[in-house]
C-alpha cells in the first residue's frame, strides 16, 4: 500500500510500504475512511525536531476495523471507530484520572497517513459508533481524533465556563477548534487572535465574537481594553512559542487559567512572574480519549461541524503538496483521501 514517510526537513514522500499486521494481541487494524495532516507534523517538516530515520507520518484517524488481536474485546471487524492520537489502555490510574495522554502504557500513534493502520491498545483507545456514519460526517469524526480533541482540552484546561471570556492565541486548526470548543462550553465572549482573513472568517463561523489581529504587547493591550482592563478568564494557547505563550499569560486575568496545547519549543516561565501575576497553567498532549464519546455524539447528532476546518482535500499520493500548502499557510488543514 501507499504510506507517508518523512525523510528530513521538507522531504516528505508517499511510497510503497508494507501493510500493517497484528503484532500484539491488543492490536487492531483499521481501514481508514480518511486521513489528514496535523500542524504538529510541520515541526519535523520544518526541521524543528531532528529526524534520524524516516518517520512513518500520521496520527489522526478514523475508519472501519478489519482485524483484531486475540485479546481485543470491545471492538470487532466491521465497526466504525475513532481513536485518539495518544494510545492508552484506559485502565491505569492516569487514565482513570482522565489523563489518558499520560497512560502508563502510552504510545503515540504513527503511520496513519495511509489506507490502513495498526492501532495498539485497541480496547483502551478506540470508540465505536452504533452504526456506520454517513460519508459527509467523516471529516468531522476524523477531526475528533486530535485537532478537535486538542482544542477541546485547551478550553477545558483553561476552565472555560458559561458566560466567561475566552481568548484563543493561534489561528491554526487547533486554535479554530478551540474557538468552537469555547462556544460549545458556553463562553459568552470569545476573542480570536488572528491576522489571516480566511481564518478570521472561520473563527467567526465557529463562534468567535471578536477578532484581534495585533500581537505581543499591542494585542494584550487590546484584550485588556475589550475586557474593561480586567483580562480574560480563560486563555487557550495553541501555538507553542515563547512569544505566543507570553501573550497568553499576559492576556489572562489574575486567577485566570491558561490551557496550553501548542507543543512548547523553547518556552520557559519565570517563577516570580507567574507568582505575582497569579495565572494558572495546565497543558500537555490532550487526553482525547476522555472526550471521545461526548465529542463523537456532538458530531453524529450534527450539533457541531468541526470538519469545516479542512480547507484542502487531496489524494494521499499528493501528501507532499498537503504539507507544503500548510507550511506556506495556503491551507489551514489538509484532508487526505486514502
Amino acid at each position: 500500500m501507499l504510506g507517508t514517510k518523512l525523510y528530513g526537513p521538507g522531504d516528505v514522500r508517499c511510497e510503497e510500504v508494507a501493510e500493517p499486521k497484528i503484532l500484539k494481541p491488543t492490536d487492531a487494524i483499521i481501514k481508514l475512511s480518511a486521513s489528514c495532516i496535523c500542524g504538529s507534523d510541520l515541526w519535523p517538516f520544518r526541521g524543528a525536531n531532528e529526524v534520524t530515520e524516516p518517520l512513518a507520518m500520521g496520527h489522526e484517524y478514523c475508519g472501519v476495523v478489519v482485524d483484531v488481536g486475540s485479546a481485543v474485546k470491545t471492538v470487532k471487524p466491521g465497526q466504525f471507530v475513532v481513536g485518539s492520537f495518544c494510545l492508552s489502555d484506559n485502565t491505569c490510574p492516569h487514565c482513570k484520572f482522565g489523563f489518558q495522554s499520560s497512560c502508563e502504557q502510552r504510545e503515540f500513534m504513527t503511520g496513519a497517513q495511509a489506507p490502513f493502520a495498526r492501532i495498539p491498545l485497541a480496547d483502551g483507545t478506540l470508540v465505536a459508533t452504533a452504526e456506520l456514519p454517513s460519508d459527509d460526517l467523516i471529516p468531522s469524526l476524523l477531526a475528533v481524533s486530535d485537532v478537535l480533541g486538542t482544542g477541546w482540552y485547551a478550553a477545558d484546561a483553561a476552565g472555560v465556563q458559561g458566560g466567561g471570556t475566552a481568548v484563543v492565541v493561534g489561528d491554526g486548526a487547533v486554535g479554530l477548534m478551540g474557538v468552537l470548543s469555547a462556544k460549545q462550553m458556553g463562553a459568552s465572549r470569545i476573542i480570536a487572535m488572528s491576522r489571516h482573513k480566511s481564518r478570521q472568517d472561520l473563527a467567526l463561523e465557529f463562534g468567535a465574537t471578536d477578532i484581534i489581529s495585533e500581537r505581543g504587547d499591542e494585542g494584550v493591550a487590546l484584550i485588556k481594553e475589550l475586557t474593561n482592563g480586567v483580562g480574560a478568564d480563560s486563555v487557550l494557547e495553541c501555538v507553542g512559542t515563547q512569544e505566543s505563550m507570553s501573550q497568553a499569560v499576559n492576556c489572562a486575568r489574575p486567577g485566570g487559567k491558561i490551557g496550553f496545547v501548542g507543543v512548547p519549543h523553547g518556552v520557559t516561565f519565570d517563577g516570580q512572574n507567574l507568582f505575582f501575576q497569579q495565572k494558572s497553567l495546565l497543558g500537555g498532549p490532550a487526553p482525547v480519549r476522555r472526550y471521545l464519546p461526548y465529542l463523537m455524539d456532538l458530531v453524529l447528532d450534527r450539533t457541531i461541524n468541526p470538519g469545516k476546518v479542512f480547507d484542502l482535500e487531496i489524494p494521499l499520493a499528493d501528501v507532499a503538496e498537503g504539507y507544503r500548502a500548510m507550511d506556506e499557510r495556503r491551507a489551514i488543514k489538509t484532508l487526505l483521501r486514502v
Copy 2:
C-alpha cells in the same frame, strides 16, 4: 511607641517610631493584640532582597480598632478585627473574582511589628468579630492574617479534595498550616516533607499521615512509592527555591495540581517539561481576604488551632532575637507581645 525596622541584612531593630495616624479617609488604626514574624521577613533579613532604606517590618495583625477615617463604614472603634497582609478594596473585579491579592488598589501591609498600625483600605481589608475573642484565641486569629491564609490558599490552589492525596513541600510555618488546611479539606493522605523532629511532630499533630525526610529525587521516589507509583493529586509548595519547586512538580501525578506560595527566588519552569508532565500550576500571594470569614469562624468555634505554630513568644523589644531564632531554625514562628 516601639516599632521594628530592618536596616540591612541581619540588622533588625526595635526603636522609637511615630504612632500611626489616619492618612486617608479609608484608613483605620488598630491596637494590635499581638504581632509576629513571617518566614518571608527572613528574605530581606538574609539579604535576598536589596534594602535601600530602613523598612518598617510586620504585615500580620489582629487587634482592636481605635480610630477610623471618615469614609470607613464596616468597622468601628472598639471592634476586634483581623485583616489580610494584602490590603484590598474588595470591590474591584479582581477582588470579586476572589483574587483580592491582585486588587486594583492592592498594597502590602507594613509596620505591624508594633503596638499600633495603620490599615489602609479598612473596609475592604478588615473583618470584625461579633464580640471580643478570648485571649487564648489571639495567636490563632493572628495566624489567619497570613500564615494560615497562605497555607489554605496553597491547599486550595492545589485542588485538595476529600479523599485525595496531598504532599506538602516545606516544613516552615506555612507548610505546617498547609498540612492543617489539607486535613480540614478532607485529604485522606497528607505527606509532609520534613527533616526536623519538632516540625515533623507538629505536622503529625496538624494531620499529616506520613513524613518523608528525604529531598530531591530520593524524596520524589518515596512519594511515588507511597502512592503506588502514581504521584500526588495535590502538592503544596511552601518554600520558593528551584529545588523545592522541582520536587513539588515531580511529586504530582499527571493532571495533578501544584499550589505554590513560597515567593519564588530564582525559579524557572521549562515549558516542554510542564507540557509532557501535564502538571497544573497556580501560585501567588494568597488572597487571604477571600478566606478570612470562614477561617475566623473555624478558629472562633475552636475547630482548628493554628496558633500552635507559634513556638516562641517574646516581647516586641526583643524582636531581633525572634528573627535570629527563626533564621537559625531554633523557632518555627515567633509571636511578639506588643
